[in-house]
Every structure is written in structure tokens, then in C-alpha cells.
């Protein structure tokens, strides 16, 4: 049985086309369509319901030790008010999930996990915890993402300048946004400037309407999961279940900089990653030059030899061409090289290009 987010009725009100995603009923798009929603985020601003994301608290005097042991990144120098991205590995070096970690207090961290992995992650943390306490607070928390070059201008109509975090990957907790108490985080999954606002589930609908009213004159529109996916693909952000999985290590996925092999403490998966050494395959960007749309799980060929498989792919609305991410044998990887992707029995040419496809100016 799929869950509804606190904004389900709002999505119906705004004409959202509802689909099931990660165990939640969410809009894939609204009336304006994926392309218009995508372009709104690149050029103006878009508003997303991302309440399906899971929130887990890690608390206790040993909380830092615990996150450092469970996650591959190093949190030793993460200050209160800052956020950091990290993979979480299994003992084989595969990826349990990728998450965002907020340090909200001296001995308190907020971990934001993927909706589809929420139960799995919480069970994993409970099974591997030593001293800190983990609490799944997902059902009490809503999350709205305000994304785009005009996001700050719009948010300023509802919040004081000093309640808005200045730097990317920082946040301010317990702030007033139009009378709704929020954790205001300068983060996102679109490749644009923007904010993720966490509030009590019961306040989500009010916050949504306040934000839309504040931004409508600037072109702010509601955006669905379709645009969320095309935006993150252009920005080459990994999506769990695609670029990352229990069988794909973060190093293979090109996320080696978030795996701190030299941090002082041991972490789950480190031994396996050490033994594996430099990965034999790597993430690659493919710009489709032939005719067709490349999707996930399509074989990639160099001549007659299969050299990998795509992990995500779509038409990129802002760039105006189709693109895909793939995991390729390292010796087949060279920027500028032409490969072929088998799209439903037909070979379509693509060029290996550096990631990300899109980077904001």
C-alpha cells in the first residue's frame, strides 16, 4: 500500500498526475508538463514536494563516532549548521544508500535518506549501531524543495535575510518562514541554487501555498518527479538504484571523493574497498549523437564488444539533446570516444563526455 505525503491533496488541487514512486504517491508532473517544469527551475524557480525522503536522527555522546563508522565520508570537521553528502556501504563495499547528513547539535545528526531505502536503512543502522540512538522521524517531517536562480529572492519575501543560509551545504534550524518553523537548508538535487525546507508534516500544506503565492509573479511553478529526474541527470547527480546499488561501490560510481579511506576511524565496507583497489569500471557520461533516446539498463558497445551498461538516460530539456550515464569498463573509457548503445534492438551512437552535462554559471 503506497503512502501519501502530507501534500497529497495539494497535488490533486494543482493538477498533479499521480504515480507510485519509492512507496509514495507523488506527482510525476503538473499541468505545465515536464519540460516547462524543468525550464522553470533552470531559468526561474520550481517548487517540489520531497516529503517522501526519510529522516533519521542519530543522537548521543558517541553520535560522531557512529556516523563516521556507518558512512564513508569523514564527519570529524562537520560543524553545527553544515551538511555533508555521503554514501553508506555494506561489508562488500557495495552501496546501502546515499544520504545527506546535517549536524544539528553537538551530539545530534539528522540523516536524510532515499524514500525507497527508508526501512532498509533504518534496519541497517539499528543492526550496526554501537552506542548512539537512531530514531526514524520521517512521518512527522515534510520537505519542500525551492529550486532555481530566483529561489533566494522568493524566500526573502517570507523569511529574514539572517534566517537564510548563505553558503551551499549549510543550513539554519528553527527559522521562521512565513510563520512556519523550518530547517532551511541551502541544498538541492537539481544543479541550481536553492533550498530544502523541512517542517512539521501538519504545516506542509500552508508552507506550500505561502511559497507559491510568494513566487508566482516571478514564474514559480509546482514541479513533479519527472523534472526532478531530468534536472538531476543533467547535473549528473547519482540516483540510488541507478548509478548506485548494493552491487555498485561509490568508487565505481565516481564518488570516490566521498569515500575517505584515510579518515582515522574504520568504517563499514572499508576493508572490502581496500582489497578491491582501484575499480575496474567507472561512471561515464554519454551524449547521444545518433537518433534515439537512451534509457537505463541498455548495453553499451565499443565495436562488437560490450563495455558496459547505462544506468540512467533521458532527453535533457535544457541542453536540448538526449544523454545518459553509464558504468563502463575503465579501459573502454576515453573522453571524445564514440560508443554505441543498443536501444530496443537498434544501435544508437553516443559520445563519451565529461560529467556533469550541465553546470550552472
Amino acid at each position: 500500500m503506497d503512502r501519501k505525503t502530507p501534500l497529497y491533496d495539494i497535488h490533486l488541487k494543482y493538477g498533479g498526475k499521480i504515480v507510485s514512486f519509492g512507496g509514495y504517491l507523488l506527482p510525476v508532473q503538473y499541468g505545465s508538463g515536464v519540460i516547462a517544469e524543468h525550464m522553470a527551475v533552470r531559468t526561474k524557480c520550481g517548487l517540489f514536494d520531497v516529503s517522501h525522503m526519510g529522516e533519521i536522527l542519530c543522537e548521543g555522546p558517541e553520535a560522531l563516532t557512529e556516523v563516521n563508522r556507518l558512512l564513508t565520508n569523514d564527519f570529524t570537521d562537520l560543524t553545527i549548521g553544515a551538511a555533508r553528502y555521503s554514501p553508506m556501504c555494506n561489508e562488500r563495499g557495495g552501496t546501502v544508500d546515499d544520504l545527506l547528513v546535517y549536524r544539528t547539535g553537538e551530539t545530534r545528526y539528522l540523516l536524510v535518506v532515499n524514500a525507497s531505502n527508508r526501512e532498509k536503512d533504518f534496519a541497517w543502522m539499528q543492526a550496526h549501531r554501537e552506542k548512539a540512538d537512531f530514531t526514524d522521524i520521517s512521518d512527522t517531517v515534510a520537505q519542500l524543495a525551492l529550486q532555481g536562480p530566483l529561489a533566494e529572492k522568493i524566500l526573502l519575501r517570507l523569511a529574514d535575510q539572517n534566517d537564510i543560509p548563505e553558503k551551499y551545504y549549510t543550513f539554519k534550524a528553527g527559522r521562521n518562514v512565513g510563520g512556519v518553523k523550518c530547517l532551511v537548508s541551502r541544498t538541492g538535487y537539481t544543479g541550481e541554487d536553492g533550498f530544502e525546507l523541512y517542517c512539521a508534516a501538519g504545516e506542509a500544506a500552508r508552507l506550500w501555498e505561502l511559497l507559491l503565492d510568494a513566487g508566482r509573479g516571478d514564474g514559480l511553478i509546482p514541479c513533479g518527479l519527472g523534472a526532478r529526474d531530468t534536472l538531476r541527470l543533467e547535473a549528473a547527480m547519482p540516483l540510488y538504484g541507478h548509478e548506485l546499488s548494493e552491487e555498485i561501490s561509490p568508487r565505481e560510481a565516481g564518488l570516490g571523493i566521498f569515500v575517505k579511506m584515510k579518515k582515522p576511524s574504520d568504517f563499514i565496507g572499508k576493508a572490502a574497498l581496500e582489497i578491491a583497489g582501484a575499480p575496474a569500471r567507472r561512471r561515464a557520461g554519454l551524449k547521444v549523437t545518433g537518433r534515439g533516446i537512451v534509457r537505463e539498463h541498455m548495453p553499451v558497445f565499443a565495436g562488437e564488444a560490450q563495455v558496459g551498461v547505462t544506468t540512467s538516460g533521458t532527453h535533457c530539456p535544457y541542453l536540448g539533446y538526449p544523454a545518459a550515464m553509464a558504468i563502463l569498463n575503465k579501459d573502454a573509457y576515453a573522453v571524445g570516444k564514440t560508443v554505441e548503445v543498443e536501444v530496443r534492438g537498434r544501435r544508437v551512437e553516443a559520445e563519451i563526455v565529461p560529467l556533469p552535462f550541465y553546470k550552472r554559471a
Partner: protein, 126 residues
């Protein structure tokens, strides 16, 4: 939603326009383009290809997914609408002008629905 009375429709959401020379134009319905969302790619057969009633002859891709388009008739492709290859959004903008193929030597057809019956059918599906 708009479904012109002079056209014939299929349960797989194509429309058929019969021309004076007995060839037919085939496209997808307003309901179909609305369900698919923004179209970004179209794959069409070539002139001279045979098409078979009830079999796929083309595919359309939205940002999210690919869908087959089924031929309402058996016959031979006399003409393709090349404008769609460069501008698939024409299908979203004007689905009854954005024909995919013109088919001649029509030997067989699907069981068509009238506009009225098609509308009733889409309401059951929705």
C-alpha cells in the same frame, strides 16, 4: 479534450482520417498525447514499408518513457510526416494535424470507434 467527429479511432489511441484517394492518414489522439506528456522523439517507418493492423509501426518517446504506436490498418506506407522527426512537440501542440504516416493499398482495418464511443472508452480507462 478534443476528438473531431469526422475521424475514426482505435482502442490503442490512434486516429484515422480517410482521404479522397482512399489512402488514410494515421496519428495519435489528443487523449494519448496528454497521457504521454511532452514528446521528445519519434521513430517512423520508411516509405514503402508494410504496416499491419494491430501491430506497432512507430514509437514515441516522452521525457519519461517510450510507447509503441499501433497501425489501425494493413497497407503500405506512402508518405511519412518528416516534420515530426525534428519537432515531435507538434504532436502535443496539434495532435490531429500531426499525422505520422499516410497508408495506401489498405487491405484491412481494426474495428474503429466513433468519436463519441472513443470518448466513452477513454473515460472508462481514466
Amino acid at each position: 479534450m478534443n476528438h473531431p467527429a469526422e475521424l475514426s479511432y482505435t482502442k490503442s489511441h490512434e486516429w484515422v482520417r480517410e482521404l479522397d484517394d482512399e489512402s488514410v492518414l494515421v496519428g495519435i489522439t489528443d487523449f494519448a498525447q496528454h497521457e504521454l506528456g511532452d514528446l521528445v522523439f519519434v521513430n517512423l517507418p520508411e516509405v514503402g514499408d508494410d504496416v499491419v493492423a494491430g501491430e506497432p509501426f512507430a514509437d514515441v518517446e516522452s521525457v519519461k518513457a517510450v510507447s509503441d504506436v499501433y497501425s489501425p490498418v494493413t497497407g503500405r506506407v506512402a508518405e511519412i510526416n518528416e516534420a515530426l522527426l525534428d519537432a515531435p512537440q507538434l504532436i502535443n501542440e496539434a495532435p490531429y494535424e500531426a499525422w505520422f504516416i499516410r497508408v495506401e493499398d489498405v487491405a484491412d482495418t481494426e474495428d474503429y470507434l466513433s468519436a463519441e464511443d472513443y470518448v466513452a472508452f477513454t473515460q472508462e480507462e481514466a
